[in-house]
Amino acid sequence: MHKRNLLFSAALVTAMTFAFGAAPALAAGTDVPAAGQSAKIDAIKARGTIKAAAIGETPWLPENTTGSGEQFSGPAWVLVNEYANRLGVKIEIVPVSHETKVPILATGEADISIAPLSVTPKRSEVVDVIHYSTSSLCFFGLADNPKIKDLKTVDDLNSPDLTMAYFTGTPPETWAPTRFPKMVLKGVAGSGANAPVEEIMAKRADVAPIDNVAWPQLSKQVPGLMVFPVGDDCLKSQEMGTDVGMAVDKADTVFRDWLLAVYGEVKDKVSAEEIRILKGN
């Protein structure tokens, strides 16, 4: 009994030693890397600003259009503010469009692209992503469109009689031809919205994809629409389920690792902000 207690105590002490020994190593992941370890961080600190490419997109980075207050909100904004605070720098917003939110990193005009980005294999080849959310697609159209009003499932949309509009440069551009090989697909220039609503309202397309988290707001703002998967099933959609995150250039892995470590520490705060936006608070 005495020997067993001794062994137990020794095991406990050993475990505690390892835990406390490892803790500094873990904490070091979120410490700002020392000068010389990351060229990107050194440049950011020397400049005094972190250049963040941004375009508003609800619910991850809604843009404030009231004319006063912070320019953005949402989980991406909370996260980039966390990065800026830890680096002791200000945020410099570099406005981008959906077509340029990834290429901007290659030009060096931005340190990080906080524009919400769906992670696709093609994008992962050119940038590293700090993902903080997930999304899937729903497909909406006019409820009184005779071509879709009697359809029941997403599979029913795969018809040569139907036209789907999508924004060029977005993931549906490469995904939709494999999911809907029979459908007529039409790429349109990004309008700043989450989905090409104008194409549907102008009846130039029958359906358009939208992030499932954005559908509740669209359905409130624009009456007369229907969605596939039908009704509340849209929120459980598994169509093109992807991670959503912010992108950095692949060149600086120390910078990337630090960003990931910081996100790991504050992910509850980031998630809480997304829930707040989705609830409309």
């Binding site: 004319g67 700043g192 669209l218």
Partner: protein, 221 residues
Amino acid sequence: MTISLAPFIDSWPFLLKAVGVTLFISVFSMLLGFVIGVVVGSLRTYGGRFLDMTLGFYVDTMRAIPLLVILVWVYFAFPMLTGHSINVTVAAIAALGIHLGAYIAETIRAGLTSVRKTQMSAALALGMSRTQAVRTIILPQAVIRMLPALGSLFVFAVKDSAIASVIAVPELLRQTQVVAGNTYRPFELYTAAMLVYFLLCFPVARGVDMIYKRVAHLGSS
């Protein structure tokens, strides 16, 4: 279709600031274009054959390449070439100004060459230098003749500023897109943007016409 004014009530300061940015880009690109145009136009007219041909290449190039392509190149490719970062607004003003400069240069050249050559001969015969002759005799008449064309070009500067939305300059069209994206009210917002552009451009066009009607007789020779 229901019409809603809610987007304007909530976002009018945001959109008003965008109108300010549109005017800022238009005015400064016009100023830059005017400076470039006067220098290039004058040198092409009075600078001799070599300058005429060299600067003619700039004019022809700018007139042959779409403004959108120039804008995208200035913002994306130029910093990679020079290693210097460039702000979106500066890029827009530079691209618009350089593009407009070519058209203004041709307007200036047309104005200068429209004044009869005998006027220059007479000025020189009276003992004036070329510079004095251009400044006191040729230019006052030429400027009046250039007014309608220059007025049109200023209207172009305002309209072309909308193209800067492609590189996400926060001007009127881009910010209208942002609000339309948030509110899903494209009809109301884009109609309003169209009206605002009309209200910006129409007075300029009419104003220049009115000025020209008053002073046109001074430009005849």
